[in-house]
Amino acid sequence: MELVCPAGTPAALRSAVAAGAHTVYCGYADDTNARNFPGLNFSREEMEQAIAHAHAQGAKVLVAINTFPRAGDAAPWHAAIAHAAAAGADAVILADTGLLAHVAEHHPGLRRHLSVQAAAANPDAINFYAEAFGVKRVVLPRVLSVQEITAINREIDVETEVFVFGGLCVMAEGRCSLSSYATGLSPNMNGVCSPASHVSYDEEGGELAARLGGFTIHRSGRDEPAPYPTLCKGCFTSRERTGYVFEDPSSLDASQLIPQLSKAGVSALKIEGRQRSRAYVSQVVRAFRAATDALEAGRPIPPGTLSALTEGQSATTGAYAKTWR
């Protein structure tokens, strides 16, 4: 089972490789990738060095170019693709239909993975991307149960990659405009969700109010955990109910489901968190590498030790269990 690990910086990439990542994914420092956060990502030169370093250590590098090109200005996206191809990236991760068509036509030898941002959630959609654009691997949306993943793999010829750890999108990825509704910046167009530039924290009467674009997303008491004000994990009121209307501020930990996912025909396990530090990357990658090694050796998966790294310091298996819905 291939372990696909996040790197927001060259240092994090080296940490991931050192901790046992089979594959690392990363992106350029602009709005061509879906983690376009301040201080993150790779310059052209850093990308070349990172790919060389990973290859020398026997690891692969996937370059995420998974936002949707700006209308009338596709040049930065095309340039990013051309650079990734020239730098020797093992694959590019794409979401936009037009961009997939562009790569299939102009870089036919460059391996194409379908980003989770394309939200291909069933065999028909996956086969469509495989036939139309020669996609070799699909990152499955986080809305599917293990049963459904098993069924999908029976009907497709391409590889599947699933998220096993990290921040959890409640909505179908790539099909959510909540962030731009509140802030003007969105994952699809700007590569950011609930961007830090629009976050404010205010101490109010012993509570910490977290706001996004002026909308109050959360209030926490003095000693409660403080979630980042990600829109879909906010605390809201709907008539008589107040609470987490969309999702509790927890994050995904599917480490105990790895044997089931393997049985379901999944080729690769993905860890979320390009925006996280190298301390996070190294600790999570090490734990998951131990888990995949245990799987290969037929041993039980070691119990989780990563709860402190998760949002709200609690974890869920998300949609993999059908009751989540």
């Binding site: 700006r70 239909t97 469509f128 809305v143 959510c176 405009s177 509704y181 699809n188 949609a319």
Partner: protein, 300 residues
């Protein structure tokens, strides 16, 4: 500029559904009507038998009728529905790319607002595949609308009215608000014919839930943007159904496009029935989607 009525996003059972489309056929001066189930396949059996009659009545009234695909297709049953849709003999509007797999190459189809057409590259690919019309995602700013419209060989439509479809999920929020799972939802989303409001802890109107869908609390209203959209070459406006006063609203938009009333008059007349009771048009020209270009002005 033409007017298209989008598929209702909400769950209206048999009679309400039938009455809505009957009035639309008889009274609404619109060019095109997209109908069918967009949000949740579990709702379809409650009005499915009404569809053929509605299609007939709308067509008899001179309107083009188009059938929508679901917005998120995961179950086998839902894939089967898409196959059936392709066999109905009407134009299909795809709102999940899955539906394309069931349309024979060369079949004309339209592209709905929930397909990610963010640029001219995607628009060109869709046109080559048979797209006869493309409704852009509501999130796009005017500059993008302009660039895509300039390059697109297929006519372009823009979201003109109604609560904005902001997200779709595998999880049902209506069921969650009632401590139920999606599989045991008991069709509770029918209690809110225009969606259920979600406010912030400080009482700000923010969002609305509609089953597995999340909408804006405010009602999008592109009336003030019509000159700019016309100038950009946009060929139609999409009006999204609401439970009250919708045929009148269609008439008001027709009057606006014909120059018989102003954007201010339309906005004032339509406000009492606008879901949420507030407007937004910020995705096109504002700083945020929730922004309203007339905020602080008298006519708003």
């Amino acid at each position: 500029m033409q007017l298209t009525v989008g598929p209702t996003q909400f769950f209206w059972r048999g009679e309400a559904w039938r009455d809505f489309y009957a009035r639309l056929a008889d009274e609404a001066p619109v060019d095109r009507v997209v109908l069918g189930e967009l949000v949740c396949s579990k709702r379809l059996p409650f009005y499915q038998t009404e569809i053929p009659q509605a299609v007939e009545r709308l067509q008899a009234a001179g309107k083009q009728v188009v059938l929508t695909s679901l917005a998120l297709i995961t179950l086998k049953r839902e894939r089967k529905l898409m196959a059936d849709l392709a066999d109905m003999g009407l134009e299909v509007e795809i709102n999940d790319l899955t539906a394309l797999a069931y349309l024979p190459k060369g079949t004309a189809f339209s592209v709905g607002p929930l397909i990610n057409t963010y640029n001219e590259g995607t628009a060109a690919w869709m046109h080559k595949r048979g797209a006869a019309r493309i409704c852009l995602p509501p999130e796009l700013p005017l500059a993008s609308v302009r660039a895509i419209t300039a390059a697109s060989l297929a006519p372009v439509e823009v979201w003109g009215w109604g609560r904005l479809p902001l997200a779709i999920s595998g999880r049902c929020y209506h069921a969650r608000l009632h401590d139920r799972t999606k599989d045991n939802c008991q069709f509770i989303c029918d209690a809110d014919p225009d969606g259920r409001e979600v406010e912030t802890l400080d009482g700000q109107d923010f969002l609305a839930v509609n089953g597995v869908q999340t909408l804006s609390a405010a009602c999008a209203n592109a009336a003030y943007q019509v000159p700019a959209l016309r100038d950009a070459g946009v060929s139609s406006l999409r009006l999204s159904p609401q439970s009250e006063g919708f045929a009148e609203l269609c008439g008001d938009f027709r009057a606006l496009l014909d120059g018989r009333i102003t954007a201010g008059e339309l906005s004032q007349r339509a406000l009492p029935h606008a879901p949420g009771g507030t407007y937004c048009d910020g995705f096109l020209t504002g700083d945020t989607g929730a922004a309203w270009s007339q905020a602080g002005r008298e006519s708003a």
